[in-house]
Protein backbone atom coordinates (compact mmCIF):
# COMPACT_ATOMS: atom_id res chain seq x y z
CA UNK A 1 0.00 0.00 0.00
CA UNK A 2 2.90 2.36 0.76
CA UNK A 3 4.23 1.87 -2.74
CA UNK A 4 0.81 2.67 -4.24
CA UNK A 5 0.48 5.76 -2.04
CA UNK A 6 3.94 6.88 -3.04
CA UNK A 7 3.13 6.43 -6.73
CA UNK A 8 -0.19 8.22 -6.38
CA UNK A 9 1.53 11.05 -4.51
CA UNK A 10 3.96 11.43 -7.40
CA UNK A 11 1.15 11.34 -9.99
CA UNK A 12 -0.89 13.95 -8.14
CA UNK A 13 1.91 16.33 -7.22
CA UNK A 14 2.42 17.55 -10.78
CA UNK A 15 1.56 16.81 -14.38
CA UNK A 16 4.05 14.47 -16.07
CA UNK A 17 5.62 15.96 -19.20
CA UNK A 18 3.37 19.04 -19.28
CA UNK A 19 4.95 20.62 -22.36
CA UNK A 20 4.73 17.57 -24.60
CA UNK A 21 1.17 17.05 -23.39
CA UNK A 22 0.26 20.67 -24.04
CA UNK A 23 1.88 20.56 -27.47
CA UNK A 24 0.03 17.37 -28.35
CA UNK A 25 -3.35 18.79 -27.34
CA UNK A 26 -2.67 21.93 -29.35
CA UNK A 27 -1.88 19.74 -32.36
CA UNK A 28 -5.08 17.72 -31.94
CA UNK A 29 -7.26 20.79 -32.24
CA UNK A 30 -5.07 22.28 -34.94
CA UNK A 31 -5.75 19.09 -36.89
CA UNK A 32 -9.49 19.61 -36.48
CA UNK A 33 -9.24 23.22 -37.62
CA UNK A 34 -7.27 22.29 -40.74
CA UNK A 35 -9.60 19.37 -41.49
CA UNK A 36 -12.69 21.56 -41.19
CA UNK A 37 -11.22 24.23 -43.46
CA UNK A 38 -10.11 21.61 -46.02
CA UNK A 39 -13.71 20.39 -46.27
CA UNK A 40 -15.17 23.88 -46.76
CA UNK A 41 -15.72 23.50 -50.52
CA UNK A 42 -17.50 20.17 -50.31
CA UNK A 43 -19.22 20.46 -46.94
CA UNK A 44 -22.63 20.72 -48.54
CA UNK A 45 -21.97 17.62 -50.64
CA UNK A 46 -21.01 15.70 -47.53
CA UNK A 47 -23.44 16.96 -44.88
CA UNK A 48 -26.10 19.09 -46.54
CA UNK A 49 -29.73 18.37 -47.40
CA UNK A 50 -28.60 17.22 -50.87
CA UNK A 51 -25.72 15.17 -49.53
CA UNK A 52 -24.32 12.39 -51.70
CA UNK A 53 -24.77 9.88 -48.87
CA UNK A 54 -27.79 7.64 -48.61
CA UNK A 55 -29.08 8.17 -45.11
CA UNK A 56 -30.19 5.10 -43.21
CA UNK A 57 -31.61 4.84 -39.71
CA UNK A 58 -29.58 3.74 -36.72
CA UNK A 59 -30.87 1.76 -33.74
CA UNK A 60 -32.50 4.23 -31.40
CA UNK A 61 -30.67 4.90 -28.15
CA UNK A 62 -29.39 8.01 -26.39
CA UNK A 63 -25.91 7.98 -27.89
CA UNK A 64 -27.01 7.15 -31.43
CA UNK A 65 -29.79 9.75 -31.36
CA UNK A 66 -27.28 12.38 -30.27
CA UNK A 67 -24.28 11.58 -32.45
CA UNK A 68 -26.23 10.61 -35.56
CA UNK A 69 -28.63 13.53 -35.43
CA UNK A 70 -27.23 15.07 -38.61
CA UNK A 71 -28.42 11.94 -40.44
CA UNK A 72 -32.01 12.82 -39.51
CA UNK A 73 -31.66 16.61 -39.38
CA UNK A 74 -29.11 17.55 -42.04
CA UNK A 75 -30.25 21.15 -41.87
CA UNK A 76 -28.35 21.49 -38.58
CA UNK A 77 -24.99 20.77 -40.13
CA UNK A 78 -24.02 24.42 -40.64
CA UNK A 79 -24.45 25.16 -36.92
CA UNK A 80 -22.59 21.99 -35.95
CA UNK A 81 -19.80 22.77 -38.40
CA UNK A 82 -19.27 26.29 -37.08
CA UNK A 83 -19.46 25.21 -33.43
CA UNK A 84 -16.87 22.55 -34.24
CA UNK A 85 -14.53 24.98 -35.97
CA UNK A 86 -14.83 27.74 -33.38
CA UNK A 87 -14.50 25.43 -30.38
CA UNK A 88 -11.47 23.75 -31.96
CA UNK A 89 -9.87 27.17 -32.48
CA UNK A 90 -10.49 28.16 -28.86
CA UNK A 91 -9.18 24.77 -27.69
CA UNK A 92 -5.78 25.62 -29.17
CA UNK A 93 -5.29 27.56 -25.95
CA UNK A 94 -5.40 25.96 -22.53
CA UNK A 95 -7.27 27.57 -19.66
CA UNK A 96 -9.25 26.43 -16.65
CA UNK A 97 -12.49 25.96 -18.59
CA UNK A 98 -10.92 24.33 -21.62
CA UNK A 99 -12.91 21.17 -20.97
CA UNK A 100 -16.04 22.97 -22.20
CA UNK A 101 -14.63 23.93 -25.59
CA UNK A 102 -12.81 20.62 -25.94
CA UNK A 103 -16.00 18.70 -25.27
CA UNK A 104 -17.84 20.85 -27.81
CA UNK A 105 -15.13 20.30 -30.43
CA UNK A 106 -15.11 16.56 -29.80
CA UNK A 107 -18.91 16.12 -29.71
CA UNK A 108 -19.47 18.13 -32.89
CA UNK A 109 -16.56 16.34 -34.55
CA UNK A 110 -18.27 13.04 -33.71
CA UNK A 111 -21.54 14.29 -35.20
CA UNK A 112 -19.85 15.36 -38.40
CA UNK A 113 -18.05 12.03 -38.65
CA UNK A 114 -21.17 9.94 -37.90
CA UNK A 115 -23.14 11.76 -40.59
CA UNK A 116 -20.57 10.91 -43.29
CA UNK A 117 -18.15 8.18 -42.20
CA UNK A 118 -17.32 7.32 -45.82
CA UNK A 119 -15.76 10.76 -46.22
CA UNK A 120 -13.07 10.03 -43.65
CA UNK A 121 -10.37 7.54 -42.79
CA UNK A 122 -8.59 6.40 -39.63
CA UNK A 123 -7.01 9.82 -39.23
CA UNK A 124 -10.18 11.32 -37.83
CA UNK A 125 -10.72 8.27 -35.63
CA UNK A 126 -7.28 8.81 -34.06
CA UNK A 127 -7.92 12.48 -33.44
CA UNK A 128 -11.46 11.97 -32.10
CA UNK A 129 -10.17 9.40 -29.61
CA UNK A 130 -7.36 11.69 -28.52
CA UNK A 131 -9.77 14.61 -28.26
CA UNK A 132 -12.01 12.51 -26.00
CA UNK A 133 -9.06 11.67 -23.75
CA UNK A 134 -7.97 15.30 -23.69
CA UNK A 135 -11.25 16.77 -22.43
CA UNK A 136 -10.34 16.61 -18.74
CA UNK A 137 -6.66 17.48 -19.16
CA UNK A 138 -5.40 20.66 -17.50
CA UNK A 139 -1.60 20.83 -17.40
CA UNK A 140 -1.41 24.10 -15.42
CA UNK A 141 -3.39 22.97 -12.41
CA UNK A 142 -2.18 23.14 -8.83
CA UNK A 143 -4.93 20.79 -7.66
CA UNK A 144 -3.70 17.30 -6.81
CA UNK A 145 -6.99 15.80 -7.94
CA UNK A 146 -6.82 17.47 -11.31
CA UNK A 147 -3.16 16.50 -11.74
CA UNK A 148 -4.04 12.87 -11.12
CA UNK A 149 -6.86 12.99 -13.67
CA UNK A 150 -4.59 14.73 -16.19
CA UNK A 151 -1.88 12.10 -15.77
CA UNK A 152 -4.38 9.29 -16.24
CA UNK A 153 -5.69 10.94 -19.40
CA UNK A 154 -2.11 11.15 -20.64
CA UNK A 155 -1.62 7.44 -19.95
CA UNK A 156 -4.81 6.72 -21.90
CA UNK A 157 -3.45 8.64 -24.90
CA UNK A 158 -0.09 6.82 -24.76
CA UNK A 159 -1.72 3.40 -24.43
CA UNK A 160 -4.05 4.19 -27.34
CA UNK A 161 -1.16 5.16 -29.65
CA UNK A 162 0.67 1.97 -28.75
CA UNK A 163 -2.46 -0.11 -29.32
CA UNK A 164 -2.92 1.41 -32.78
CA UNK A 165 0.47 0.01 -33.76
CA UNK A 166 -0.16 -3.32 -32.01
CA UNK A 167 -3.62 -3.89 -33.53
CA UNK A 168 -2.51 -2.83 -36.99
CA UNK A 169 0.48 -5.18 -36.77
CA UNK A 170 -1.75 -8.07 -35.74
CA UNK A 171 -4.06 -7.42 -38.71
CA UNK A 172 -1.06 -7.39 -41.04
CA UNK A 173 0.35 -10.59 -39.54
CA UNK A 174 -2.89 -12.38 -40.43
CA UNK A 175 -2.39 -11.66 -44.14
CA UNK A 176 0.29 -12.61 -46.65
CA UNK A 177 1.42 -9.46 -48.44
CA UNK A 178 3.18 -7.82 -45.50
CA UNK A 179 4.92 -11.11 -44.77
CA UNK A 180 6.05 -11.73 -48.36
CA UNK A 181 6.98 -8.09 -48.99
CA UNK A 182 4.48 -7.31 -51.77
CA UNK A 183 2.09 -4.99 -49.91
CA UNK A 184 3.57 -1.66 -51.03
CA UNK A 185 3.77 -2.88 -54.63
CA UNK A 186 -0.01 -3.27 -54.62
CA UNK A 187 -0.58 0.03 -52.82
CA UNK A 188 1.42 1.87 -55.48
CA UNK A 189 -0.84 0.42 -58.16
CA UNK A 190 -4.05 1.74 -56.62
CA UNK A 191 -4.70 5.04 -58.40
CA UNK A 192 -6.32 6.83 -55.46
CA UNK A 193 -3.31 6.06 -53.24
CA UNK A 194 -0.61 6.70 -55.80
CA UNK A 195 0.31 8.72 -58.86
CA UNK A 196 1.73 7.85 -62.30
CA UNK A 197 5.24 8.60 -61.03
CA UNK A 198 5.04 6.28 -58.02
CA UNK A 199 3.26 3.64 -60.06
CA UNK A 200 6.23 3.58 -62.47
CA UNK A 201 8.58 3.00 -59.54
CA UNK A 202 6.59 -0.06 -58.44
CA UNK A 203 8.62 -2.00 -61.02
CA UNK A 204 11.67 -1.66 -58.74
CA UNK A 205 10.62 -4.74 -56.84
CA UNK A 206 13.61 -5.03 -54.50
CA UNK A 207 13.34 -1.47 -53.17
CA UNK A 208 9.66 -1.76 -52.38
CA UNK A 209 10.02 -5.24 -50.89
CA UNK A 210 12.68 -3.91 -48.51
CA UNK A 211 10.50 -0.87 -47.76
CA UNK A 212 7.54 -3.13 -46.98
CA UNK A 213 9.61 -5.09 -44.48
CA UNK A 214 11.08 -1.93 -42.92
CA UNK A 215 7.64 -0.35 -42.48
CA UNK A 216 6.24 -3.55 -41.01
CA UNK A 217 9.21 -3.99 -38.68
CA UNK A 218 8.87 -0.42 -37.46
CA UNK A 219 5.22 -0.94 -36.71
CA UNK A 220 5.83 -4.24 -34.92
CA UNK A 221 8.75 -2.95 -32.85
CA UNK A 222 7.42 0.54 -32.06
CA UNK A 223 5.96 -0.35 -28.62
CA UNK A 224 9.20 -2.09 -27.61
CA UNK A 225 11.59 0.53 -28.98
CA UNK A 226 9.75 3.22 -27.04
CA UNK A 227 11.26 1.75 -23.88
CA UNK A 228 14.75 2.81 -24.99
CA UNK A 229 14.52 6.46 -23.98
CA UNK A 230 17.97 7.37 -25.25
CA UNK A 231 17.06 6.20 -28.78
CA UNK A 232 13.54 7.52 -28.73
CA UNK A 233 14.25 10.63 -30.77
CA UNK A 234 15.62 8.49 -33.61
CA UNK A 235 12.58 6.23 -33.42
CA UNK A 236 10.27 9.21 -33.66
CA UNK A 237 12.23 10.73 -36.55
CA UNK A 238 11.97 7.47 -38.50
CA UNK A 239 8.25 7.42 -37.76
CA UNK A 240 7.82 11.00 -38.92
CA UNK A 241 9.58 10.12 -42.16
CA UNK A 242 7.41 7.05 -42.76
CA UNK A 243 4.20 8.93 -42.12
CA UNK A 244 5.30 11.86 -44.25
CA UNK A 245 5.82 9.36 -47.07
CA UNK A 246 2.23 8.19 -46.53
CA UNK A 247 1.20 11.76 -47.14
CA UNK A 248 3.51 12.37 -50.11
CA UNK A 249 2.98 9.03 -51.90
CA UNK A 250 -0.58 8.15 -50.94
CA UNK A 251 -2.03 11.63 -50.39
CA UNK A 252 -3.38 10.52 -47.02
CA UNK A 253 -2.29 13.75 -45.38
CA UNK A 254 -4.97 13.67 -42.73
CA UNK A 255 -3.90 10.26 -41.46
CA UNK A 256 -0.20 11.04 -41.85
CA UNK A 257 -0.39 14.17 -39.71
CA UNK A 258 -2.70 12.53 -37.18
CA UNK A 259 -0.01 9.93 -36.46
CA UNK A 260 2.87 12.44 -36.62
CA UNK A 261 1.07 14.68 -34.11
CA UNK A 262 0.70 11.70 -31.77
CA UNK A 263 4.48 11.53 -31.53
CA UNK A 264 4.39 14.78 -29.54
CA UNK A 265 3.34 12.64 -26.57
CA UNK A 266 6.73 10.94 -26.56
CA UNK A 267 8.90 14.00 -27.11
CA UNK A 268 11.48 15.25 -24.64
CA UNK A 269 10.22 18.21 -22.65
CA UNK A 270 12.93 20.60 -23.86
CA UNK A 271 12.05 19.81 -27.49
CA UNK A 272 8.33 20.21 -26.89
CA UNK A 273 8.90 23.53 -25.13
CA UNK A 274 11.00 24.72 -28.05
CA UNK A 275 8.23 23.83 -30.50
CA UNK A 276 5.44 25.57 -28.59
CA UNK A 277 4.41 28.38 -30.93
CA UNK A 278 3.66 31.17 -28.49
CA UNK A 279 5.39 32.31 -25.33
CA UNK A 280 2.09 32.40 -23.46
CA UNK A 281 1.56 28.73 -24.24
CA UNK A 282 4.88 27.89 -22.65
CA UNK A 283 3.87 29.33 -19.24
Amino acid sequence: MNRIESYVRQLSSSVNAPYSLRLFILLIYLWFVIQAISLWDIRDLIWGEQSVFFRSARPSNLLNNFFFQLVYEPGRYQSVYWIHLISALISLFEFRWSFITRFAAWATGMMLYCAAPQAFNSGILVMLLMAAYSILVYSKSSSRYRNLITNFCRYAMIIQVILIYVFSSIYKLSGTQWLNGTAIHYVLNIDVFSSPFWKETSEYTLIWTITTYLVFAYQLLFPILLLFKSKRNWLLLVGVFFHLMIGVVMNLWDFAFAMIFCYALFMKEEHAKFLMPFRTLRK
Binding site: E5, R144, F152, Y171, Y186, F255
Partner: protein
Protein backbone atom coordinates in the same frame (compact mmCIF):
# COMPACT_ATOMS: atom_id res chain seq x y z
CA UNK B 1 -6.34 18.68 11.79
CA UNK B 2 -4.14 19.32 8.78
CA UNK B 3 -2.56 15.89 9.14
CA UNK B 4 -6.00 14.27 9.29
CA UNK B 5 -7.15 16.20 6.22
CA UNK B 6 -3.91 15.32 4.39
CA UNK B 7 -4.49 11.67 5.23
CA UNK B 8 -8.08 11.83 4.02
CA UNK B 9 -6.97 13.57 0.83
CA UNK B 10 -4.36 10.88 0.20
CA UNK B 11 -6.95 8.17 0.65
CA UNK B 12 -9.27 9.88 -1.82
CA UNK B 13 -6.41 10.16 -4.32
CA UNK B 14 -5.50 6.49 -3.92
CA UNK B 15 -9.15 5.55 -4.44
CA UNK B 16 -9.33 7.77 -7.53
CA UNK B 17 -6.15 6.16 -8.87
CA UNK B 18 -7.49 2.65 -8.34
CA UNK B 19 -10.80 3.55 -10.00
CA UNK B 20 -8.92 5.27 -12.83
CA UNK B 21 -6.71 2.24 -13.43
CA UNK B 22 -9.78 0.00 -13.39
CA UNK B 23 -11.61 2.25 -15.85
CA UNK B 24 -8.63 2.28 -18.21
CA UNK B 25 -8.35 -1.50 -18.01
CA UNK B 26 -12.03 -2.01 -18.83
CA UNK B 27 -11.95 0.63 -21.55
CA UNK B 28 -8.99 -0.84 -23.42
CA UNK B 29 -10.29 -4.37 -22.96
CA UNK B 30 -13.52 -3.42 -24.68
CA UNK B 31 -11.77 -1.49 -27.44
CA UNK B 32 -9.50 -4.51 -27.98
CA UNK B 33 -12.51 -6.82 -28.20
CA UNK B 34 -14.17 -4.40 -30.63
CA UNK B 35 -11.08 -4.27 -32.82
CA UNK B 36 -11.04 -8.07 -33.10
CA UNK B 37 -14.77 -8.59 -32.89
CA UNK B 38 -14.82 -11.33 -35.51
CA UNK B 39 -12.79 -13.54 -33.17
CA UNK B 40 -14.88 -13.19 -30.01
CA UNK B 41 -18.15 -14.77 -28.95
CA UNK B 42 -21.44 -13.10 -30.02
CA UNK B 43 -22.22 -12.03 -26.46
CA UNK B 44 -18.79 -10.41 -26.02
CA UNK B 45 -19.14 -8.80 -29.44
CA UNK B 46 -22.48 -7.26 -28.47
CA UNK B 47 -21.03 -5.87 -25.24
CA UNK B 48 -17.95 -4.51 -27.01
CA UNK B 49 -20.07 -2.95 -29.77
CA UNK B 50 -22.41 -1.27 -27.29
CA UNK B 51 -19.52 0.21 -25.32
CA UNK B 52 -17.25 1.21 -28.19
CA UNK B 53 -19.59 2.36 -30.95
CA UNK B 54 -19.89 5.19 -31.76
CA UNK B 55 -18.03 7.05 -29.02
CA UNK B 56 -14.76 5.09 -29.11
CA UNK B 57 -15.09 3.69 -32.63
CA UNK B 58 -11.78 2.58 -34.12
CA UNK B 59 -10.58 0.73 -37.19
CA UNK B 60 -6.89 0.12 -37.77
CA UNK B 61 -7.19 -2.26 -40.69
CA UNK B 62 -6.20 0.04 -43.58
CA UNK B 63 -4.15 -2.08 -46.02
CA UNK B 64 -4.50 -4.96 -43.60
CA UNK B 65 -4.46 -7.88 -43.65
CA UNK B 66 -3.87 -7.46 -47.39
CA UNK B 67 -3.96 -4.66 -49.94
CA UNK B 68 -6.51 -4.89 -52.73
CA UNK B 69 -5.01 -6.37 -55.89
CA UNK B 70 -7.14 -4.25 -58.16
CA UNK B 71 -8.22 -0.73 -58.95
CA UNK B 72 -11.92 -0.13 -58.96
CA UNK B 73 -13.99 2.64 -60.46
CA UNK B 74 -17.68 3.32 -60.08
CA UNK B 75 -19.15 4.23 -63.43
CA UNK B 76 -22.63 5.17 -64.47
CA UNK B 77 -24.68 5.97 -67.52
CA UNK B 78 -28.13 7.39 -67.88
CA UNK B 79 -30.90 6.99 -70.39
CA UNK B 80 -33.39 9.52 -71.64
CA UNK B 81 -36.18 8.54 -73.99
CA UNK B 82 -34.48 5.22 -74.59
CA UNK B 83 -31.09 6.63 -75.53
CA UNK B 84 -28.17 5.73 -73.27
CA UNK B 85 -25.23 7.99 -72.59
CA UNK B 86 -21.62 6.77 -72.53
CA UNK B 87 -20.24 5.25 -69.36
CA UNK B 88 -18.64 7.88 -67.16
CA UNK B 89 -16.75 7.74 -63.86
CA UNK B 90 -19.01 9.02 -61.11
CA UNK B 91 -16.32 11.21 -59.48
CA UNK B 92 -13.67 11.81 -62.18
CA UNK B 93 -16.44 12.36 -64.70
CA UNK B 94 -17.68 15.34 -62.68
CA UNK B 95 -14.24 16.92 -62.58
CA UNK B 96 -12.93 15.56 -59.28
CA UNK B 97 -9.30 14.53 -59.29
CA UNK B 98 -8.16 10.99 -58.64
CA UNK B 99 -6.69 11.99 -55.26
CA UNK B 100 -9.66 14.14 -54.21
CA UNK B 101 -11.89 13.51 -51.21
CA UNK B 102 -14.84 12.65 -53.48
CA UNK B 103 -12.81 9.99 -55.24
CA UNK B 104 -11.86 8.52 -51.88
CA UNK B 105 -15.54 8.46 -50.96
CA UNK B 106 -16.26 6.61 -54.18
CA UNK B 107 -13.50 4.11 -53.38
CA UNK B 108 -15.20 3.41 -50.06
CA UNK B 109 -18.40 2.49 -51.92
CA UNK B 110 -16.41 0.40 -54.40
CA UNK B 111 -14.80 -1.52 -51.57
CA UNK B 112 -18.21 -2.40 -50.13
CA UNK B 113 -19.61 -3.31 -53.54
CA UNK B 114 -16.59 -5.49 -54.25
CA UNK B 115 -17.28 -7.36 -51.02
CA UNK B 116 -20.88 -7.84 -52.11
CA UNK B 117 -19.76 -9.08 -55.53
CA UNK B 118 -17.42 -11.58 -53.89
CA UNK B 119 -19.98 -12.89 -51.43
CA UNK B 120 -23.45 -12.35 -52.86
CA UNK B 121 -23.16 -12.70 -56.62
CA UNK B 122 -24.51 -16.04 -57.78
CA UNK B 123 -26.08 -17.68 -60.76
CA UNK B 124 -29.26 -19.67 -61.08
CA UNK B 125 -29.79 -21.88 -64.12
CA UNK B 126 -26.90 -20.14 -65.82
CA UNK B 127 -28.33 -16.67 -65.22
CA UNK B 128 -26.34 -14.24 -63.09
CA UNK B 129 -28.38 -13.02 -60.14
CA UNK B 130 -27.92 -9.57 -58.61
CA UNK B 131 -30.85 -9.51 -56.22
CA UNK B 132 -28.85 -10.03 -53.05
CA UNK B 133 -26.38 -7.32 -54.02
CA UNK B 134 -29.13 -4.91 -55.01
CA UNK B 135 -30.82 -5.34 -51.66
CA UNK B 136 -27.60 -4.48 -49.83
CA UNK B 137 -26.75 -1.08 -48.32
CA UNK B 138 -23.59 -1.13 -50.45
CA UNK B 139 -25.54 -1.02 -53.72
CA UNK B 140 -27.98 1.61 -52.42
CA UNK B 141 -25.11 3.79 -51.24
CA UNK B 142 -23.30 3.52 -54.58
CA UNK B 143 -26.41 4.14 -56.67
CA UNK B 144 -27.53 7.06 -54.52
CA UNK B 145 -24.05 8.55 -54.81
CA UNK B 146 -24.17 8.27 -58.61
CA UNK B 147 -27.66 9.79 -58.76
CA UNK B 148 -26.76 12.69 -56.48
CA UNK B 149 -23.53 13.47 -58.29
CA UNK B 150 -25.35 13.47 -61.63
CA UNK B 151 -28.14 15.71 -60.33
CA UNK B 152 -25.68 18.08 -58.73
CA UNK B 153 -23.27 18.42 -61.62
CA UNK B 154 -25.39 17.57 -64.68
CA UNK B 155 -28.73 18.99 -63.63
CA UNK B 156 -29.39 20.09 -67.20
CA UNK B 157 -29.30 16.48 -68.38
CA UNK B 158 -32.58 14.76 -67.58
CA UNK B 159 -32.76 11.03 -67.17
CA UNK B 160 -35.46 8.43 -66.80
CA UNK B 161 -33.19 5.56 -65.85
CA UNK B 162 -29.69 5.10 -64.62
CA UNK B 163 -27.28 2.21 -64.48
CA UNK B 164 -24.11 1.72 -62.46
CA UNK B 165 -21.25 -0.64 -62.94
CA UNK B 166 -18.04 -1.25 -61.16
CA UNK B 167 -14.86 -1.64 -63.18
CA UNK B 168 -11.99 -3.68 -61.87
CA UNK B 169 -8.47 -3.25 -63.21
CA UNK B 170 -6.33 -6.01 -61.73
CA UNK B 171 -2.76 -5.27 -60.68
CA UNK B 172 -0.10 -7.49 -62.26
CA UNK B 173 1.78 -9.69 -59.83
CA UNK B 174 4.92 -8.22 -58.34
CA UNK B 175 7.68 -8.53 -60.93
CA UNK B 176 5.51 -9.90 -63.72
CA UNK B 177 4.67 -8.35 -67.09
CA UNK B 178 2.36 -5.37 -67.11
CA UNK B 179 -0.67 -6.98 -68.71
CA UNK B 180 -3.75 -5.12 -67.67
CA UNK B 181 -6.86 -7.15 -66.96
CA UNK B 182 -10.07 -5.13 -66.85
CA UNK B 183 -13.49 -6.47 -66.09
CA UNK B 184 -16.85 -4.82 -65.44
CA UNK B 185 -19.74 -5.79 -63.26
CA UNK B 186 -22.88 -4.13 -64.59
CA UNK B 187 -25.93 -3.92 -62.41
CA UNK B 188 -29.46 -3.84 -63.79
CA UNK B 189 -30.77 -0.39 -64.64
CA UNK B 190 -32.41 1.70 -61.96
CA UNK B 191 -35.81 3.05 -62.94
CA UNK B 192 -36.77 5.83 -60.50
CA UNK B 193 -40.44 5.88 -61.34
CA UNK B 194 -40.95 2.13 -61.11
CA UNK B 195 -41.97 0.63 -57.82
CA UNK B 196 -39.89 -2.45 -56.91
Amino acid sequence: MELAEGGKSSKILVLMAIVGAFVLMIHFTFTGLFSFREFVSPSMRTMADRYTFPVFHQDWSLFAPNVAKYNSELEYRFAYHGKWSNWSDVSNGQGYETVSRMERIEQGFNHQLAWQATNNLYSDNGITKYDRIMRSPAYKNALYYAVRMHERHQSNLAYDSMQVRISFRFTPENGSANDVDITHLEFPAYLPETKH
